[in-house]
């Protein structure tokens, strides 16, 4: 029986060691710049904006090792819910705050400002073999609308090019802000879409492989995914009423790429901005956002837009 008892002791010691090691190592802070800022900043919201916020948070933490920033991805709506309940101090959003959410924040007494941080150009991609260069918003609506029965490119109304491949549609899940925005702008109502497209859920990579592999393939996602895969896919120009415009940094910044360029926001809360670490973070965010935006595939703000954002923050804090 002695060996069993020894075994028990060894086992518990091992478990204890694991626990202590795990807890103990949290004391090793990453080597970072010393600063006096400390505390924790909880951010949640859009999974589109998250890569941008994550990148800023990463660099901020490297320079301020006493601050912990967490970035969640519950979605724009989920983020606002937590924000207006006081659970987060900044909300990432790929659309403007909606009236019900405004009410909820007012009820809890949460003051906030809408701070634009970047622009995203929702890109519609097709297979490189596809001769079509430009589609109007109406044509896109005809293809993606809830009652659409179009199954081949030949059936697209008003198509100038001679192309009749079978239409293979790829799109994000109904959970995503990208889906919400696309359906709202192209089909007139958020959530209104034909149901028989290839739903890639969270995995936009699958849209890339899908459209690449199907001659009549078509999909949509954020600009960063297009940038990552520029050689493999063709981006369509979109005619929002003023002629065919290709998605790019310039066209999005100048508001020419309509209606698929969308502003991306963060919503800091007034109360949080009174804390030095949050104020420091938001200031750092705006000071560095343009550099970071390019790195993660978003379209940076113009000088004007950046100044407007800084003014909005100053108004709150």
């Amino acid at each position: 029986m002695i060996s069993s008892r020894r075994l028990l002791v060894v086992a518990s010691a091992a478990a204890l060691a694991v626990g202590v090691a795990a807890c103990g190592s949290s004391d090793d802070e990453a080597t970072g710049g010393g600063s006096d800022l400390s505390g924790s900043i909880r951010i949640d919201g859009s999974s589109t904006v998250a890569p941008l916020t994550e990148a800023v948070a990463e660099q901020f933490e490297a320079e301020n090792s006493g601050v912990r920033v967490t970035v969640g991805t519950s979605g724009t709506g989920g983020g606002f819910e937590k924000f207006c309940a006081g659970e987060t101090v900044i909300s990432d959003a790929s659309r403007a705050i909606e009236p019900e959410e405004v009410e909820a924040c007012e009820k809890e007494g949460i003051a906030y400002e809408e701070v634009r941080v970047a622009t995203d150009a929702l890109t519609v991609v097709v297979n490189p073999e596809n001769p079509v260069n430009c589609l109007t918003v109406e044509q896109l609506g005809a293809i993606w609308g809830p009652d659409s029965k179009i199954s081949s490119w030949g059936e697209v109304p008003g198509l100038k090019e001679d192309f009749d491949e079978e239409l293979q549609l790829f799109g994000p899940g109904t959970d995503s802000g990208t889906f919400d925005y696309f359906t709202e702008e192209i089909n007139g109502e958020e959530g209104a879409s034909r149901k028989d497209y290839n739903n890639v859920g969270e995995n936009d990579n699958a849209t890339v492989t899908g459209v690449e592999g199907a001659p009549g393939g078509m999909g949509y996602f954020g600009y960063s995914f297009y940038q990552e895969n520029e050689g493999a896919l063709k981006a369509l120009e979109v005619d929002g009423g003023k002629g065919c415009v290709a998605p790019s940094a310039e066209t999005a910044q100048k508001d020419e790429y309509v209606p698929l360029s969308r502003p991306l926001f963060i919503y800091p809360s007034g109360e949080a901005l009174e804390k030095p670490e949050v104020k420091g973070f938001v200031d750092y965010y705006l000071d560095n956002v343009n550099a970071v935006a390019e790195a993660v595939g978003f379209i940076p703000l113009t000088e004007e837009q950046l100044q407007a954002s800084k003014d909005a923050t100053a108004k709150l804090g």
Binding site: T73, G75, Q168, G173, N199, G213
Partner: protein, 306 residues
């Protein structure tokens, strides 16, 4: 007098109570599960008619206008489970028969631990393997042309998830069936051999029927695991609710729906939120049903040797 029962030891009773409490925790857990599902589920059925839910084949909760026919995602679950079992049962049973009747002890000693390794692989790894290898390198090159719509150009596929699921449950079937077959008394085998039967005949006609209860139990256990699996189907099966058993289409299972929606952009108390619990309740119900079938089956087929 020394051997007579003195006053009761309260310490003993206290310990017994403490231990009983540990056991009762299991009942509490089940109760908690039922309760956590019940509230939002009732709220769900106040808005969505039960007939639409249980008999509808269109599951599009976040489209405008939404449709709540759960059969679409139930079909997705059945789809992947069916094809997974069609793969796993022959492979698993074949492996079990081989290990128990044909393999030398050395082969057995090497293969059994390797099967344990297969059983221990995290499902997220199997899911990524299914999506990035099974789908493009195995299914798409080997699938006959346009059969059932063809496999080319599909980013997700029920069959890819099925094969991944199948790989995951093969060790369950193989291990438990092998144990069951090995437990058959040697006397039965030796008697059959003495009568001139070949190894194949012994395996199929003598051992297999004798071990049937264990084999059936292993298959039922495997089906339960496959029905309840989330990550493999989430990664490789797709997110398109599709009322079909066609293996080369994109589908969405109940588990994948719960995972996607609960981590996505929904607000507490909304209809989407409640639908997660309604689907969870259906899944829980199916699991309980399968489990009682399994218990009843093992009880009925248990063979007595002595």
């Amino acid at each position: 007098m020394l051997l007579q029962d003195s006053k009761p030891r309260y310490g003993e009773k206290a310990i017994q109570g403490l231990l009983a409490a540990c056991g009762i925790l299991s009942v509490l857990t089940t109760t908690a599960i039922v309760f956590s599902l019940l509230g939002p589920m009732i709220g769900f059925f106040e808005i969505v008619p039960a007939k639409e839910f249980f008999f509808g084949i269109d599951w599009t909760p976040q489209f405008e206008p939404p449709s709540f026919g759960v059969l679409a995602i139930v079909a997705g679950t059945l789809n992947v489970t069916l094809w997974a079992m069609l793969f796993a049962i022959p492979i698993g049973l074949g492996t079990a028969v081989y290990l128990s009747e044909y393999a030398s002890p050395r082969v057995r000693r090497t293969v059994k631990p390797v099967l344990e390794v297969l059983a221990g692989i995290p499902t997220v790894a199997i899911g990524i393997f299914a999506l990035t290898f099974i789908l493009p390198e195995i299914i798409q090159p080997l699938w006959p042309g346009e059969l059932l719509g063809g496999a080319v150009g599909k980013p997700f596929m029920a069959l890819a998830a099925s094969l991944g699921l199948g790989l995951m449950v093969v060790p369950i079937i193989a291990s438990i069936s092998d144990d069951a077959m090995s437990a058959v008394p040697h006397g039965l085998r030796e008697g059959a051999y003495a009568l001139g039967a070949t190894r194949a005949k012994v395996a199929v006609r003598v051992i297999f029927p004798a071990a049937l209860s264990g084999i059936v139990a292993s298959v039922v256990l495997a089906i339960s695991r496959a029905l309840g699996e989330t990550m493999i189907v989430l990664i490789a099966g797709g997110s398109t609710p599709n009322f079909t058993l066609n293996p080369v289409e994109s589908i969405q299972t109940m588990t994948a729906y719960i995972a996607t929606t609960a981590t996505g952009d929904i607000s507490t108390g909304s209809l989407d939120y409640k639908s997660v619990f309604a689907v969870g309740a259906v899944l829980f119900g199916i699991t309980l049903a399968m489990n009682s079938i399994s218990i009843r089956l093992t009880r009925r087929y248990r063979e007595v040797y002595e």
